[in-house]
Amino acid sequence: MSRPGSAPTRHFDADTIRRGALACLPLLPSTMIFGAVLGVLATQRGLSLGELLFMSLTVFAGSAQFVSVDLWRETIPAATIIVATAVINLRYVLIGASLRPVFRGRPLWVKICGMHMVADENWAVTMTQENLANPGFLLGGGIFLGIVWATGNTIGYLLGGGIPDPNVYALDFAFTAVFAALTVGMWKGRVDLLPWLAAAIGSLIGHYTLPGTWSILAGAGAGVVVAALTWRKDMDDTAPEPEIAADTFGAPEGTYSTEAGK
């Protein structure tokens, strides 16, 4: 390799992409079933399968797609749908911001390519990795979830019904469970306590007082404000800025065994 500190040669190497995809394996059943439910809904709202798949791969955001397809009519209320999508997906501004360490030191084109396939799930799995500086890991999870999501859409669309109710098998709870579990892996010590408490309280208040997904923004906002207020000068990171860690040493996987069953 080259001088220390110089950029690595590969930004998205195949092995990292594969590990990112495998890490999202526990999400396969629920993503597939919800993809199928969306496919059934699309047949009732008059979208073609091609249009639905086009949406799934360009928008790639589950909850916004459910609301949009539900609003779909023969005369499409385009403005309503786009505004609803923007409101539901506002959290991606925060998710994008929190991905800074993943893309640290990478050129702009890597950010442009890497930021499309970002869903809540592969973002959360990526953020609990020991070595954050892996855009390939994020992309791998995104590609995997995108394929599963689109496959589910197609199955649901072609069957046009008869999909098992996800609630019966608690598959709706899979998303709650994965986010709850990954929160544990994000704990960095006592500095997190007050901001997390604020986020929990803020999201609960938002849940009871605000419509839709505004509770996410209420909670995250409360967490951000408390984090800013509780910062002290001596808290400043003592760890040296991680350079882009070359991902050739296989990364310390298994520390938090986010990979299914390993």
């Binding site: 008059g46 928008v59 786009i82 994008g96 953020m127 986010f179 604020a198 400043d236 986010t258």
Partner: protein
């Protein structure tokens, strides 16, 4: 309504609406990252950015656990405890989901 199965129709209105949704969503994803890149790497803002993923994640699942009722709260608690003890995502998810699935079965049949 269009005829079923309708696999390949692409109406201009649909494509434009979907593109609008996609541009808005992608713009927020990339925009969030590029904005964060302009924030300082040290000090208060760096500290806030480090707390951000946990705050967002908590705000995603706490309301949804609550929406799932008391069994949802119990399932989320079981998931967190399993993860803290076993440090295994698959096991933690399985414990939470089985608890919720079994719990719903008994609630439905009682």
């Amino acid at each position: 309504m269009m005829s079923f199965p309708d696999l390949t129709t692409f109406s201009t209105a649909s494509v434009l609406t979907i593109l609008g949704m996609a541009i808005v969503t992608y713009g927020m994803r990339l925009g969030g990252l590029l904005m964060a890149d302009r924030l300082p790497q040290h000090g208060r803002w760096a500290h806030v950015l480090e707390r951000l993923p946990g705050a967002v994640l908590i705000s995603v699942w706490i309301p949804s656990a609550l929406s799932a009722g008391s069994i949802g709260v119990a399932g989320a608690a079981a998931t967190v405890i399993t993860m803290a003890l076993a440090r295994n995502l698959f096991a933690a998810m399985a414990v939470g989901m089985i608890l919720v699935g079994v719990g719903r079965y008994f609630i439905a049949n009682s």
